[in-house]
Structure formats: structure tokens, C-alpha cells
Symmetry: C2
Subunit: 357 residues, 2 copies
């Protein structure tokens, strides 16, 4: 198969520098190389689409985290969906569609010994589309599922608040909370996202954190005003994707024994110099005997198959909807597309598609 | 009994103003009044000693907390130990020693209907001294016990870090951790306290947060240096009594699945304007899948008797030691004595004694 592969050009995005603040064009390097021969038992995957996630910003930083940083000069890490275009492994046939840590590149060549490390597994497009396999059936959906169910310990009748409600994790967590009998209140930016969250996804309410001040209201704080209205009886579970001021506003309204799921802090990832604003209201945890706990979805990998089946059933009977913001392009479009996330410009789970399924 | 009581003068300290920053003399009012007749079924308690606690600062603030604020003009709230000097209640005999919410005053007159609200219960001085009943067998000891055992979920071989290690909660939590098979590392201010914590209480190590910089060390941070040395394998449980920079230093060294017990934040209670510094390193909870949980000891009241018996047994066989910093005086000495806590000048659990047992 070497002859065929050598004819293909693999366009890649590599990390060229560790950014301070928002990633700049110069932090990336666009490279091209032939597709490597994977050897006996290996496979070659053509990347159909990759997932663009806030967590990517953290992977670009040096230093200890829940996962190793991307090394300078390496292909940028990304989860993706691809199609097998070459295989000498009996477990994979040409044409199979797989989930894998494809990276930001058009082709992934995986020697047999690295199949596990690359996280390659076959997916069933009858359960959901390629885009949904990067969303509700993929990492964001698993994050929503295990964050809510394991850390959140939801009880019917409770109130869940979730920031980034129109985003990948938010949309699924809120809908799952509704399915489990909770009230779901979202926070999102702008009237279009808020309308979508309530009318399409069925949240009980959505707070527009960008809402302009009504006439005659000094010191307007749309989040605090919205929480007063929509979480009048307090918050039992806060699923935090943003950190910063919104985390503080949520902490101020916790109920007794509330649970705060720390899933991300997108408002803080691009601070110059890497400083993070700590939650000034953290003593609300003391006052309310509440807890705040960090979530890393990889810890639940063994239970993904069962969660995927549950979520696929909700998709099938339309109790769960999903929305992806799909940008069609090449790896060269990755740097600009990633910035949509940090500007809040994506509407739904952000996907960069290289080829149709 | 009215004639006898009327002859007694009850000196009291009342809250005169809500302080900003450290409580000032003008925030208090010293009053005197006769001892009220408690009526049928009531009792009169002579206060022997009261407990002075960091939490008192919070009770002086307006606004929602885990307990109602002390009202302006009211006798300052305090837990104390007293002796029954008058009783028409068959459950209490003159001479009995009780624990009660005495307030900062020399006498407490409790009508029958208010015995429960005042938290009056008989104590056994064979289990511990008056001072120990305000320390290891009282609220600080119960705080240490339920914080460590219920929120901390300790496992033998783990490392506990505790700030305020020479203080009331700290000394007991660290010794209890040792009894349960953990390594205990304390943080305290000054070599005398650190020596006491290690040599007397048997902690494995104690970090002096006031330690001066060794020669030739720029940007000296004694806590971070101490943690690097004494928590080289990370922290499994951090019992936080102080907040601020020390909380951030501890967060930076959490182990996977660590538990942070938020018991207090004495470094933040007297900030002007009430602003609190949030933990900048809170995303360590995410990186390490750790949790941070607030502790209010009153929630465990039903289990106090059992915990007291366990702690009394440790005192008896000298596996548990206690140290109280006893100031002898009158209610008039309360305002100045309380400030010892916030200046870190107390050495052991701070007690204000009005009369010997």
C-alpha cells in the first residue's frame, strides 16, 4: 500500500510556540508531508472532522496538567472522526469509520503498537452522525454525562445551572438534567443562543450574559439579575465551563449541600501571563456546606460505551437534540476557527470538517 | 431564688457596631445588669470560661451566613462552660457543670423553654478539664473530628496538611490523623509553635510560615519551600483554616483525588470592606480531580456524643494531647483577647476564663 499512500499529501498544523494570551498565527506552523507507511497490523485514517475544544488552549501550555502538553513542533492534538483508507489489521477494514486522536491533520498513520495509544475505535453512524460523534456521543457528551451523573449527583426537582449552555458540554448537560427530572437553567451569550437553549433544547430558562442594561438600571449585572429571577430558590448543581465572574455569581446563590462541577474555565485560559482569577466567593462552600470538584472525562473511559448507548437512545427518541457549528475547510483553517471558541462566536459544538462522511 | 440572683451583677459584652477590618474597641459595649429570674423549670449558669474562635469575626458581620449574625446591641455570642448556680429544673442540680451558648457574660439565665436553643448539656469533668471541653471535647475538637473523618475520608498512609496547626482545630485534626495512620504536616507561625506541633503533638513535620529567608535565597516563600520538603509526594487532604496564599500553595501540591476541607479563612476575615481573595489555583481541582468542601460542625451535632467518647479515650491514654492558651479575666478583657487570634498571638486553643472550676 506504500505506493498509494506516498501519493497523498498530509497537511498538518504543528505547535510552533507557546502562546501568551490568545493564540496568534505565529504560534502555529503549517506543514505538509507524505503519509507514512504504518507497517504490519497498522492502519491509515483519513480525518473527516476534528473537534475544537476550549481544553486545547491548556494543552498548548508548558507544565503539569491532567494531560501532557503538546510538544513544540508536534502536530496539534485533536480528537477526530476518520475513515480507514488502508489497513493490514483484521480488526479494521477499509471504509470503517473510527474515532481517534487524529490531531490537526488530514491523515493519521497508526502502527499496530500505537492503536491503543491513539484511541482508535470503530463507531456506528446509525447511532449518530460524524458531527454528533464529536459532540453528544463524543468527549463533550461524555463530559456532560459523567460530570452531571457522577459529580453532580442529581436529584429530581433540583435546579441545575450551566454556563456555556449552547456549547458542546452545556447543551447535553442541560438536556440530560431535564431528562433526569431537574430544572435546567443555562447561561449563554446573546438572544439567539438563549432562544435556542430554551425553545430547541427545552431548558427552563437561559440567562444572556451579554444582555444590555434596561433603561434606568445602574450597575447592571445581567448574570446576577438573571440568577435572581431564574434561580430564585437557589442552585443545587452548578456545572462550570467558564470560571471568573460567572462562577462567583453562581457561588453566591448556592443551596445547602450544592455541588459545583469544575469542568473548565474558558474565561481564564487566555489571560496574559497565565494568571487565573480565583473565585472570591469560595467561602460560600463553607456557608452552604457545598463542594466543588474537578472533572476530567478520561477517568471514565471504561464506562463510555454504556453512556454512549444511553445518549444514543435519547437522540433516537428526540429527547436529546444536538447542534454543531461545522466549519468546512482544511487544517490551514484551524488557527482562525479555534479563536471562535474564545470569542464565544461558535453556536453549538465547534467542528472543523475536512471531508464529508 | 430571685432575691439571691438580684444581688449578682452580670457583666456583659455587647456588639455595638459592625466592624470593618479588625474589630475596634468602639465596636463593643460593656454593660452590667442584674441576673434575670429564669422562671419555673429554668436554670442560671455562672460562666466559668468561654471559647474564643476565629468564627466570631464572621458572626459580627451582617448578612446571610451559616448562622444568624449577632444583632447590634445583643450580648456577643460565645460557647462556654459554666456551673449551675440556681435551678428549678429536675435535670440540672446546683453545682452541675454544663456546656452552653453562654455568650460573653458572667451569668446566663435560661427559662425552661430556651434550654434547647441555648444548647445546655451537662459535661463530665472526668473526661477532660473545663478547658479541654472547650477544645478537643468541644466545638474545635468536633470540627477536627468530622472535618477529617467525614469530609477528609482519610486513608492510612496518606498525607494530611493542616494550617493553624497549633490552634484549636489544627492540633486535634493532626493528632487524629496520626492516630488513623496518616502522615500529618502542620503549618504554624514561629519556631516555638512548630516545635510544639512536632515534639509535643507528634506531627511528622511543621512548616513555619514566618520563617525568615536563608542567606542568598531571593523571593523566599517559606510555605512553598516547606511543602516541597515535607509534602514531596503531594497532599491528599488539606484541612484549611486560613485561606489566602497558604490555600493557594496547598492547592498547587494536591494529589490526584485530594480533598480540601474548607473550615475557615482567618487570613481573610478582617479584610477592609469584606473582600475575600479567591484561590487563584482552584483549577488544581480540575487537574487533579480533587474536591473542596465546606464544613460546618453544627451539622454533626447528633454524632457529637460518640465522637466525644472516642476523643476522651485518646486523651485518657495520652495518644491525644491538648494545649489551651488561657487568659484569666472578665468580660471586659474579651475585645483585646479576641485580637490575639487574628494576630496569631495565641498558642493553643484560646480560652477566656472568668472563674476557676
Amino acid at each position: 500500500m506504500a505506493a498509494t499512500l506516498a501519493a497523498l499529501t498530509n497537511q498538518q498544523v504543528r505547535l510552533a510556540a507557546r502562546p501568551s494570551g490568545l493564540p496568534k498565527p505565529g504560534d502555529w506552523q503549517l506543514t505538509e508531508e507524505p503519509v507514512a507507511e504504518p507497517g504490519p497490523g497498522g492502519i491509515v485514517v483519513q480525518t473527516l472532522a476534528i473537534s475544537l475544544d476550549p481544553a486545547m488552549r491548556g494543552w498548548m501550555n508548558e507544565g503539569k496538567s491532567y494531560i501532557k502538553p503538546v510538544e513544540l513542533g508536534a502536530v496539534m492534538r485533536a480528537g477526530g472522526i476518520g475513515r480507514i483508507i488502508a489497513s493490514s489489521n483484521p480488526a479494521f477494514a477499509v471504509g470503517d469509520v473510527v474515532s481517534a486522536g487524529t490531531g490537526v491533520q488530514q491523515y493519521l498513520s497508526v502502527p499496530a503498537a500505537e492503536l491503543k495509544r491513539a484511541g482508535v475505535f470503530k463507531i456506528d453512524l446509525r447511532l449518530g452522525s460524524v458531527h454528533q460523534w464529536l459532540n453528544v456521543l463524543g468527549m463533550p457528551g461524555m463530559t456532560a454525562y459523567f460530570g452531571l451523573m457522577d459529580i453532580g449527583q442529581p436529584k429530581a426537582g433540583e435546579t441545575l445551572l450551566i454556563s456555556g449552555a449552547a456549547g458542546a458540554v452545556g447543551q447535553t448537560a442541560g438536556q440530560l438534567a431535564r431528562i433526569k427530572g431537574l430544572r435546567a437553567v443555562g447561561i449563554a451569550g446573546g438572544p439567539a443562543k438563549c432562544e435556542f437553549v430554551v425553545k430547541e433544547l427545552g431548558f427552563d430558562a437561559c440567562i444572556d450574559y451579554k444582555a444590555p442594561a434596561p433603561a434606568g438600571v445602574p450597575r447592571w449585572d445581567p448574570v446576577r439579575a438573571g440568577l435572581k429571577e431564574h434561580c430564585a430558590n437557589g442552585i443545587d448543581i452548578y456545572f462550570d465551563n467558564v470560571g471568573g465572574d460567572i462562577l462567583d455569581a453562581a457561588l453566591a446563590r448556592l443551596n445547602r449541600k450544592a455541588r459545583v462541577i469544575i469542568c473548565g474555565a474558558i474565561s481564564q485560559y487566555n489571560n496574559e501571563g497565565g494568571a487565573v482569577a480565583g473565585p472570591k466567593n469560595y467561602l460560600s462552600l463553607l456557608m452552604n456546606r457545598a463542594r466543588m470538584e474537578g472533572l476530567v472525562v478520561f477517568d471514565y473511559a471504561e464506562r463510555f460505551p454504556q453512556a454512549v448507548m444511553e445518549m444514543a437512545a435519547y437522540l433516537k427518541d428526540a429527547r436529546m437534540k444536538s447542534r454543531e457549528d461545522v466549519v468546512r475547510g482544511t487544517p490551514a483553517d484551524f488557527p482562525a476557527t479555534l479563536l471562535k471558541l474564545f470569542r464565544g462566536e461558535n453556536f453549538g459544538k465547534l467542528v472543523l470538517e475536512f471531508a464529508p462522511a
